[in-house]
Assembly symmetry: C2
Homo-oligomer: 347 residues x 2
């Protein structure tokens, strides 16, 4: 799935801090109708910014004390982002919710790879692209309260100028997934049920397909285990109506809080011991391994010169690596590890 693009995209401009949030990060419509407020770009940007506001408001309310710190940044040639981070709260030790809009240029191989049947004989030049997305990782303090990650993104390429007839491309990607250190079956079921309900509103194939995609994607190959207990994940999705996929991404983003907060409310004050905390920290170490070694967004961002603090806000506040740690067979720690090695059907 277009790994070439992800690994070989051109460098993007250095970002600069901005004093306040602009109404839009899109370039002006004098650069083409695809930047108009009614375009998919414009509607997607509004969606992710509204989702950022509503998720941050819900997290602040549930945390009951700490506030998100906001950084706004932009790039001279267009695009920018809003990073919001809550650190050392009552419930979350680190919670990041970022939106960004990027105008960049991808190498032509990537464009061919995206649609080999239609332009296998042409040699287009570099292809300008547009990408917008929301990305969030929420790490609670309590070892019985799970980490949540979600990310929804929209991608467009221009039609390459020197390849007449070669089409413009667009696709959606994203997902929401849960990473507990301990399994409460009712929590995992609830989380997956919300994902399924959202998927089922659009296509009954979506949940089984995107659930498996999620299990396959969040795989720490060198460990032979997944980062967590999954959820849904999809990428390069363009074989459905564009408006339908925009609605689907919107509903997915709106499902984050109902899927996650009831679990947090139940687990945030559960008493725990040092042993529980150490196991959570070991699992956080696995989170770091996945994100730095395998995650496409992270490795792409590090290689192309994205805003480092926004990219790495996904890393936990603290993590731990013990040599050759093996949970005792049958223990609660072992059950979590088993479910990460052998993904289960929760519904």
């Amino acid at each position: 799935r277009k790994p070439q693009f992800r690994l070989r995209a051109s460098m993007i401009e250095k970002e600069v801090p901005a004093a306040e949030r602009p109404a839009t990060f899109l370039r002006g419509i004098d650069e083409g109708p695809s930047n108009s407020p009614d375009s998919v770009r414009g509607r997607f940007e509004r969606m992710i910014r509204e989702a950022q506001d509503s998720v941050c408001a819900a997290i602040e309310a549930a945390d009951g004390g700490a506030r998100f710190k906001e950084d706004v940044w932009s790039r001279p040639g267009g695009g920018g982002g809003i990073s919001r981070v809550l650190q050392d709260g009552a419930v979350w030790e680190k919670a990041g919710v970022n939106v960004s809009v990027v105008y960049g240029v991808m190498p032509p191989e990537a464009y061919r790879a995206a649609n080999p049947s239609q332009n296998g004989n042409v040699k287009p030049g570099p292809v300008p692209f547009f990408a917008a997305g929301i990305s969030s990782v929420l790490h609670p303090k309590n070892p019985f309260a799970p980490t949540l990650h979600f990310n929804y993104r929209y991608f467009e390429t221009d039609a390459p100028k020197d390849a007449p007839g070669a089409p413009r491309q667009w696709w959606f990607g994203g997902g929401t997934d849960l990473t507990p250190a301990y399994i409460f079956e009712e929590d995992v079921k609830h989380f997956h049920q919300v994902q399924k309900n959202t998927c089922d509103k659009f296509n009954s194939d979506f949940y089984p397909r995107f659930k498996k995609w999620c299990d396959d994607y969040f795989y720490i190959k060198h460990r032979g285990e997944r980062r967590g207990l999954g959820g849904i994940f999809f990428d390069d999705l363009n074989s459905y109506d564009q408006d339908m996929l925009l609605s689907f991404a919107t509903e997915c983003a709106n499902s984050v809080i109902p899927a996650y907060l009831p679990i947090i409310e139940k687990r945030k004050d559960t008493p725990f011991t040092d042993k529980h905390k150490a196991w959570q920290q070991l699992r956080r170490g696995r989170y770091v391994e996945f994100n730095l070694v395998y995650d496409r967004g992270t490795t792409f961002g590090l290689k192309t010169g994205g805003r480092i603090e926004s990219i790495l806000v996904s890393l936990p506040l603290t993590a731990r690596w013990e040599y050759d740690h093996q949970p005792e067979e049958g223990s609660e720690e072992w059950k979590l590890l088993d479910a990460c090695i052998n993904p289960k059907e929760w519904l």
Copy 2:
């Protein structure tokens, strides 16, 4: 420098635990004189195993309580290793000292890359290789006591069977480097002076050249900063007499304890605050970023199926990531960061 090889080497066999240390991990001499005890392979293996014994004995004595746990493993087709880890000691929170011997096969591109002038016109098949090395990372508890890393390795390829006249290759690599969270100039000077003294016994060019190579290698590109305060590093070294380079690697390994332990003795009991500890943990986070994203040995090992627990023993017991942490200008934390961004001449 042969990145192709490091990223594209074939998978190696799965290791199996062994009940006790064998006299040698080399294949029998019936597989060729290069496996004899007097060969460079045999002498290098003895050297790294003696260095492992002496470093572990010195660390245990200085720690004053904790002992190394040993795991011996081997591969059915030849080769194996000894991993030793001391965890939660009085002085070190995690100390790993590993030796390994690997027989593998590298893709032909790598071999051509190693010597383009002599076999640019031949298309050799996969090239068997031999690699042996010692690798160690020592993470102390006290934030004023620095982390030390060293690694010395020897590499050989067979002459490719289907490329008549193409030569056999060999090279040495390695280095010793210091990663403090706080700078004590006398400590850094002492450390670098020992490296220079060792280098100067062999070639007056070695220290300046390998000091710069070290600063260049341990570079966290996405941060624009180095992992620590350097030392020496070299790779692909074969333009000197083989016996001389074996002696040089031996002296380097023997210099580890005199370069490092006097610093530990001075700093291990220095009183510290939570603020000092948090800064040490942030720098440990940078250590994790370098090792998982850039370190050749780590990324090579993860991709090729090396023994994961041995490879990742280099990661600290605990690490920390704070969003957008900026030390106050002029502070002790800022001075360390400045020296990581702008490498200094310490002698």
